[in-house]
């Protein structure tokens, strides 16, 4: 299924600007001078094989990892130049959906969702918190799971709750790390739809990390292919895969033909 892109680059204002980003782990260099702009309201899919540094890229954006060199500007703020307090403030505007959902095992769904609210919006009343929790659960269609523990949920439900937990803070930017990994095709389609719904409903700018071409096709306004530590091709899904590059075409064939 192709994404019907509603998005247009009007003022060309980029929410995320990455310039000449380098990152190594010991002798293993994963990012070699990466450049990327993510514009307001846009879904950018970063495609690449496992171990090519896709997740590292979004962890640098949110300040979980520090780059060796280069700059990351998020919502007009240089992430590397922020102190701890400023970084926390910036993180309030960024939603991060983890590959394995990273729900807190010892808490119910409600407590998972309340967790960021209670610590960052201290003047909210109990009723307002409950309303926000219900609204976020409603957005992912899982109101009935409110009192369940993460261990009682299916993989797809966990992904949705993980997304709901990030939505509760009404972020401007969403970062999805392998949103469809380990899910069956039907649940994957549901997650893809949810990503598009989030974009429309909250007008978020998003980076979606994946190696699933169906997900890329369904959610991406633009697709960027990360190979050997750098983006080799950026554009719409069709543009990217119409280029005659064996490394890209083999990626396509393995996904769709096999």
């Amino acid at each position: 299924m192709h994404k019907k892109t509603r998005y247009t680059i009007e003022d060309k204002h980029a929410d995320i600007v990455i310039r000449n980003l380098h990152k190594s782990f010991g002798t293993n260099t994963v990012l070699k001078g990466v450049n990327l702009d993510v514009y307001k309201g846009e879904n950018v899919v970063v495609l690449g094989r496992s171990g090519t540094g896709k997740s590292v890229l979004i962890k640098i954006i949110v300040g979980l990892l520090k780059p060796d060199s280069g700059s990351v500007i998020v919502l007009d703020q240089d992430v590397a130049a922020l102190n701890d307090k400023e970084l926390l403030q910036l993180r309030l505007k960024i939603g991060f959906s983890f590959q394995n959902s990273a729900l807190y095992d010892s808490m119910t769904v409600k407590e998972n969702l309340e967790f960021p609210l209670l610590r960052n919006s201290r003047n909210l009343t109990k009723a307002e918190i409950n309303t926000d929790v219900e609204e976020a659960l409603d957005a992912v269609g899982l109101k009935q799971t409110i009192n369940q523990f993460p261990s009682e949920l299916s993989g797809g439900q966990r992904k949705r709750i993980g997304i709901a937990r990030t939505l509760i803070m009404r972020p401007s930017i969403m970062l999805y790390d392998e949103p469809t990994a380990g899910l069956d095709p039907i649940t994957s389609v549901e997650i893809n739809s949810l990503i598009n719904e989030v974009q429309e409903r909250y007008n978020t700018s998003s980076i979606i990390i994946t190696h699933d071409l169906t997900c890329a096709k369904a959610t991406g306004d633009r697709v960027a292919i990360l190979l050997d530590g750098n983006f080799v091709q950026t554009g719409s899904f069709e543009e990217v895969f119409s280029v005659k590059d064996e490394r890209i075409s083999s990626f396509y064939e393995y996904n769709f033909i096999e």
Partner: protein, 260 residues
Amino acid sequence: MKSNPRTYIVSKKLDDFFSDVYAIMNFIGRFFRQLGPPYEWREIIRQCYMVGWKSLPLISVTSFVIGIVFTKQSRPSLAEFGATSWLPSLVAIAIFRALAPLVTALIAAGKVGSNIGAELGSMRVTEQIDAMEVSATNPFKFLVVSRVLATSLMLPVLMFYMAFISMVGAYLNILSNEDTSFTAFFIKALEKISFLDFFSSLIKTIVFGFSIGIIGCYQGYNATQGTQGVGRAANFAVVTSMFVVFIEEIIAVQITNWFR
């Protein structure tokens, strides 16, 4: 390109050891820097419940058995000198000065230390700690400060509880051999216990609790390499805590003896 082999100041093992010591010192420094308000009261109370209440069954059984066995084993030696009337004092001194703090700490190192190491390790490898960080929450304060405060606060409580149950076990053993009242036994037992004994045991167990908490948290918080790393964190938390508790006990005995 050929990479340069890493050089070590003395040897890899010694370098690693000092790196670990430096990292733990940094971790402790971070704990004290983040000790101020606002406090995560709900989490601190939950952890106190986990450390204190959930350890009670094990502490109760162990302390009761220790009280009975220690009294039973001491009786023949004292009987040889016709000094069985000293038994309550002997048992009380042994329990308050050494057995209760040390055994409480060893049980806590095994039960609580491993639990903290495994729980935080599991949270680290499943990215739950990263999730807290990106949701603009301070995971160190929520997870580490609350747990270390709970172990530091609850270990003294458990120690006094253990001492009391051990004394009950000792009394029951004495009662099976001679007729004595509970009150008479306790008065006789406690007359040899000084304020210094209470105070040193209290301070000692606070230090033991702090060490167990901080080591468990350090191992778990810095766990790597998936489920294997979780197991290693739990294991190292127990082994290191026990080792540190013994070292601290030796130092505490020396310091207490200077004051005695």
